[in-house]
């Protein structure tokens, strides 16, 4: 599914944030990514999402070498991936509903074909009342849930979530983790970066730990 081979990453002329990272994410697996603040978790997810280019090494995604894939192919690869960004990246001038529906709209789907799904999902993440509100008036946790909803609305093959429960209460966090687990059962591969040790307790899954730019697997 996702395979990093001796990947190194440095920003500009700075030191390497990631050094010789090697790992493979099996199709249908569920994995946590941990590490201290500034260890490079977000950077690693951005690499997987093709928002960054590795300084060296090779990344294979859906059996394609994404360091070589053409720019025209990028959007189609990205549509098969859902991402929750640490800073949400919602569009302030679109309602919560429109934000969540954005990946579908961008993929050329018609509203009548997705309106139902979007409303159901908003309901599930507890944003039914906020469907027509704009992100700037949402609470931190509400924005985060909107971001999660946007990431999963298109039932992606791969889900990359960066600290997706940092702004919600423990009960909601467990509910969201259940959502991820549910999707995982339906075939979505999940890679979830988090600091929340309680989450690790709720799902039995391998943990990838980043330290000094290197990745270690823990169970």
């Amino acid at each position: 599914m996702l395979r990093l081979e001796r990947v190194g990453l440095s920003y500009g002329r700075g030191a390497e944030v990631l050094k010789d990272v090697d790992f493979e994410l099996q199709r249908g697996s569920f994995c946590f990514l941990t590490g201290a603040s500034g260890a490079g978790k977000s950077s690693l997810l951005k690499l997987a999402f093709m928002a960054l280019h590795p300084s060296r090494g090779r990344i294979k995604l859906f059996d394609q070498d994404i360091t070589r894939v053409s720019r025209r192919q990028l959007p189609f690869l990205r549509r098969r991936i859902g991402v929750v960004f640490q800073d949400f990246r919602l569009l302030d001038h679109l309602t919560t509903f429109e934000n969540v529906a954005l990946p579908l709209r961008v993929a050329g789907k018609l509203p009548r074909n997705y309106e139902r799904d979007v409303r159901d999902l908003l309901d599930w993440v507890g944003l039914a009342k906020q469907a027509d509100s704009y992100p700037p008036v949402l609470s931190g946790g509400e924005q985060q849930r909107a971001a999660i909803a946007r990431a999963v609305i298109s039932k992606p093959e791969l889900l990359l979530a960066d600290e997706p429960t940092g702004n919600v209460d423990p009960i909601l966090a467990r509910r969201l983790i259940r959502l991820f687990a549910e999707l995982n059962k339906l075939g979505t591969t999940v890679l979830l970066a988090t600091h929340d040790m309680n989450l690790l307790k709720h799902v039995r899954a391998p943990v990838l730990h980043l330290e000094n730019g290197a990745l270690q697997q823990r169970h």
């Binding site: 025209r72 991402v83 960004f85 954005l102 961008v106």
Partner: protein, 295 residues
């Protein structure tokens, strides 16, 4: 179900772009209108004028008229800006004096001779120098200053026409600079949105279509607002301007109503302004967007 625009329509930079389009199109339309007005006025003027000046040669007791005529003709033909010289004959001289002296008893007088000098309208000779040269070579000859005034006027109108073309050019360049700058600011302001669209899997085509739509509607709305203001200004000049400057007022109205062979010209020229500005804005945004997407 109504789907809101993906590129927002309410950013401050977009309002600036609208204002830019409106103001620059307004000024450009005014300049185009003025250019058309002035060109027409100059044309009308020039066609109403004879392209001739006259040279009078006096008859004195000690002068040889024919020799003077030949000498003057020679001199005139050698002057640049003079197309042709013709002796207008004795009758023309008589016609000249008639208003002052009546037709009786003219035959007894030493009737001066007139030469018709056809001049090149586009590059008339230097009349002051010509008059001096003529006086020097043939003391009995003098250049008719009446026609000189006409030529002076024509030259002044020509200058005016060049000046207004120059103003149009400068306004045009300014408009281009402004539209480019404002369009780039709008695109720059939309960078975070473009980034998010890329991340949710939008194709470049999709993004540029959305962006084009926004620039197209902003551009056309601003541009035609400017055009409408310009037309309103011409109309206001045409009616309210009467007291200040009747000629200007009539000309302003003439711009739209007077039927001439090229009645369609002002309409087309004015329409071209907002359209060209919008296209410029679109092209600018496209180029900047392409660069933005490439990274």
């Amino acid at each position: 179900m109504h789907r809101p625009d993906i590129i927002p329509s309410k950013a401050a930079s977009l309002r600036t772009l609208t204002a830019t389009m409106a103001v620059m199109c307004y000024l450009a339309c005014l300049a185009v209108g003025a250019l058309i007005l002035i060109d027409r006025a100059v044309d009308a003027w020039a066609s109403g004028l004879s392209q001739e000046v006259t040279v009078q040669i006096r008859v004195t007791s000690d002068s040889d008229l024919q020799a003077d005529i030949n000498k003057a003709t020679e001199l005139l033909e050698a002057t640049s800006g003079v197309v042709a010289v013709a002796d207008l004959g004795e009758e023309a001289g008589k016609a000249l004096l008639e208003p002052w002296l009546g037709s009786d008893g003219l035959d007894a007088l030493p009737i001066p001779r007139l030469l018709g000098v056809k001049i090149d309208e586009t590059s008339p000779p230097d009349f002051d120098a010509l008059a001096a040269a003529l006086q020097e070579a043939v003391p009995t000859a003098s250049l008719d200053t009446h026609r000189r005034w006409e030529a002076e006027l024509t030259r002044m109108a020509g200058s005016l026409s060049i000046l207004s073309a120059l103003v149009l050019l400068l306004i045009g360049i300014s408009a281009v600079a402004m539209v480019i700058s404002a369009s780039r600011a709008v695109l720059e302001g939309n960078r975070p949105i473009v980034d998010v669209l890329k991340l949710v899997g939008a194709e470049d085509r999709f993004i540029s279509r959305q962006m084009d739509r926004r620039f197209l509607s902003t551009g056309l709305w601003g541009g035609f607002l400017g055009l409408a203001l310009a037309i309103a200004t011409f109309l206001a000049l045409g009616y309210a301007g009467w007291a200040a400057s009747p000629g200007l007022a009539a000309a302003s109205r003439g711009l739209f109503y007077v039927p001439t062979a090229d009645t369609w010209l002002p309409y087309v020229a004015l329409l071209a302004v907002p359209v060209a500005a919008t296209i410029l804005s679109l092209v600018t945004s496209r180029l900047a967007l392409t660069r933005m997407l490439q990274r």
